[in-house]
Symmetry: C3
Subunit: 357 residues, 3 copies
């Protein structure tokens, strides 16, 4: 159950250099490579000749050379060189090409009909571009349906139970939530008043102890990009004591049952402390890998392949944001499938039908 | 193919203390926890909110607190505390509860309709309660259908081939078997005359060498509890030289293709020797894990998902007990399924239909 | 998709001594054992009693004794000894027997109707029996459909891309191919003129540098035996400088998705150098295991269970041999299946129908 006409993160920009990379997105295997002019190309990662993974090959003059028999493919997915005697390029020697954009330090790939790829639809993460911020970026593989990761992120009250270093169990009763929806965005707001600050906040907090109001306002943008306005302010006190710790959580379904999770952790305090940045990176990566990922994987295992709603989950007030996101996403997917069914035959498969038979 | 209306072992009593435990039985995930009064509770091990495993949580005042968002469930399976702002407990926040009894050092769970749970149906292992006995208890996980483990145990002639330390290959021809059936019990009797004693018996034997008659009388009680009256007596000699080494073999299907195997090894000789008890424990555990378990797993693999009878097994005289047990078990399962099919709709799902929609 | 009426390699002769061995071929589990007279027997590797693997047992006077309950089976697959009290051998205590031949240092098993087993149909590898040759034999397990391994071998132009030590990338344009077909054989011829010699050839080459013509003429014999006439000669020069490096590549489908790959590497130069033989063995084994096997496994994964032709592969000139082999093999399998369908009922299952019901 994927929304195809959407941009999904395929990787952080800094991780793609002269070596091509393979990634599976929405079940499709994609080869990424960087051209000499710095642009990124994304083509189907299966050679149309004998089905080797092109991402295992080498870059030769802006083409990807297949590691098995040496055919070369350009950014359009077309084979433009057969190195063997005669050098004839047969019909059908072409793989799919995907629209790619680079923005917010990420490589975004459009998984739907290429003609519908509009860069304006890339989720707006400009909150993270504020010049006073420094931070770090990471990646986690989660063996579960991406919607379970969205559920996790849209209800941050789990932090108080699952993450001893990021939350405080006693804070649950003092934590209020609310929800807003607009277009393809759902905001899940969360405030905690007057509780002790959790460890990560304590490390960065500049005001008097015990008088802070924490916030964790998560914005989900369909299908799977989440942006968290996280921070703390002094209650009735010095606005200068406030801290701002925004993060992004960019999910890309790998398959129906596994997810790429790209994350950032930024801050506006102690920004000169590079060692602190490393410590925070290690702490966040460890928390996600040892607390969130096993929990989400366990939930997926406990669901045993059944549909989420068929299991009739009990719904708490704190689920409002996650439920809204699930419903909007399901609606968008239904609409996309209905539109595809209405199209004249073959229109939805423009790329394949352009191939020689 | 499980008999649901039956008691199955969920663990040895001594292994359940202040930490909850999860176990899968007949395909169902169950959370076990011990109350402050010492009683054991067994509830469905999937939180009805977001499907986390409750057994991964902590015990709080006789409730199990979900590790994901902190809901608390009592022994009836009902959520009785929502820690979040407002604290409303929504409809449907309930999981299944299972009847539990503790007997013969074991925790027994009733997997069928709760109203049919009768403690008198717990298999009678009182042979093991004789005050002159000491011994040890263990556990083995077997990656095979539990009926293959029953087959293994109901035909102990395999001991002479599979277990060099527990049997003697030359004893096969001197070993006689017979069978009796009564109610839900099948006895598979086995005697060996005048053979050399196998190693375990030699360690414990008090009579003259080479003049012993060994017995291994196995009682299977449907669906999967086996009790072995094992021992040796001097032929025509001093009854005081006899040794009594009874054991239990309590099988609980985990899934259609895997089995929990709880075992005991008791003895009436050298009962003050605690070090010997440890040696016997280690020897039995090693034998089961390195000889029985791989063989049964191999048999399961060789059957390749096919039905036992469809494979038309050759039947030896020595299979009589195993065949009777298989047939009685199949008959009981057929009767249970026929009875369930006759019930008015919904009656067989009393627990679920009691839940708020 | 297997051709059943054919001889397949089950192992190198030297690897079967006094211990029985199990191997899965065409999905069937087979136990191999060597009789006292040196002949090899092959019987179904599942005891008809309780389904243990007979190959895990011991040899007793030309019979295989089951490791579970001690039944003994002779080379005809019949149980000829029940060691238990009474010793009655029940009807049905028989497993399948397979025709076996030993030739070309290999054990060949006929997987089809026993009455059709004609030793004359064993692939002719006598090219390797030339007295001037020395060499080495090896084995590789490949987690892919055997036809993908045939594809790999019938188009050796891959060597220039996949094997830096055995090929030379620049040689692709100078390499010509052609194809011949006769009966159940397809020859895929390959010549490379005037290129630098790859490392393996350099080690053995006796003529002047840079003036050699290499050949790699592969003969495929249905269903899965390949013989390579590989070597180099001096262009217009001393015939004595030529080298001859013939190899065999004998494939046996293990299952639909895995393959036993038995190989040889022979040579007619430096034949006294046993250390060189070991070096070549290690080099070839390493190349196959780290370059071919991962590539073929990757191709299989990328095909995702789909049929080869349904994926509409682009066909190059260099694919001619592989395509011919695929088509001939498919035709032979279709013919075999059509013939089986025409037979009177039961005739195709002679072995099973001979069993007591």
């Amino acid at each position: 159950m994927f929304l195809k006409n959407a941009w999904y993160m395929a990787g952080w920009s800094e991780t793609l250099a002269e070596k091509p990379q393979g990634i599976r997105m929405l079940g499709e295997k994609i080869a990424l490579f960087r051209l000499e002019n710095g642009e990124v190309a994304a083509i189907g990662d299966r050679c149309p000749h004998r089905f080797a993974s092109l991402s295992g090959g080498v870059l030769v003059q802006d083409t990807l050379q297949c590691p098995y028999h040496g055919l070369r493919f350009d950014r359009s997915g077309a084979c433009i060189h057969n190195p063997h005697h005669g050098g004839i390029i047969p019909p059908g020697a072409v793989t799919r090409s995907y629209p790619v954009e680079e923005r917010h330090h990420g490589i975004w790939v459009w998984m739907g009909a290429p003609e519908a790829a509009d860069p304006a639809l890339i989720p707006d993460l400009s909150m993270l571009d504020a010049p006073e911020l420094v931070g770090t970026r990471g990646y986690l593989h989660v063996p579960a349906d991406y919607r379970l990761v969205i559920d996790n992120l849209m209800d941050l009250t789990h932090v108080n139970y699952l993450h001893p270093l990021l939350g405080i169990e006693d804070a649950a009763a003092n934590t209020r939530v609310s929800v807003e929806q607009e277009g393809r965005d759902v905001w899940s707001y969360m405030w905690t008043d007057g509780s002790e600050l959790p460890l990560l906040f304590q490390m960065l907090w500049r005001g008097p102890k015990g008088n802070a109001k924490m916030r964790g306002h998560m914005r989900w943008t369909a299908p799977a990009a989440l942006l968290l306005d996280s921070g703390a302010t002094e209650i009735g006190g010095d606005p200068g004591a406030s801290i701002f710790l925004p993060t992004a959580h960019l999910l890309t379904p790998e398959t129906e049952t596994s997810t790429h999770y790209f994350w950032t952790q930024y801050r506006d305090v102690l920004t000169d402390d590079a060692e602190l940045t490393q410590q925070i990176h290690a702490g966040v990566a460890h928390t996600f890998a040892t607390e969130d990922e096993p929990m989400i994987a366990q939930v997926a295992a406990n669901m045993d392949g059944q549909d989420f709603w068929d299991l009739r989950p009990a719904i708490l007030n704190t689920d409002a944001g996650a439920v809204r996101a699930r419903r909007l996403l399901a609606k968008l997917i239904r609409e996309e499938e209905a539109a595809a069914a209405k199209e004249p035959e073959g229109a939805g498969r423009a790329v394949e039908s352009a191939l020689p038979a």
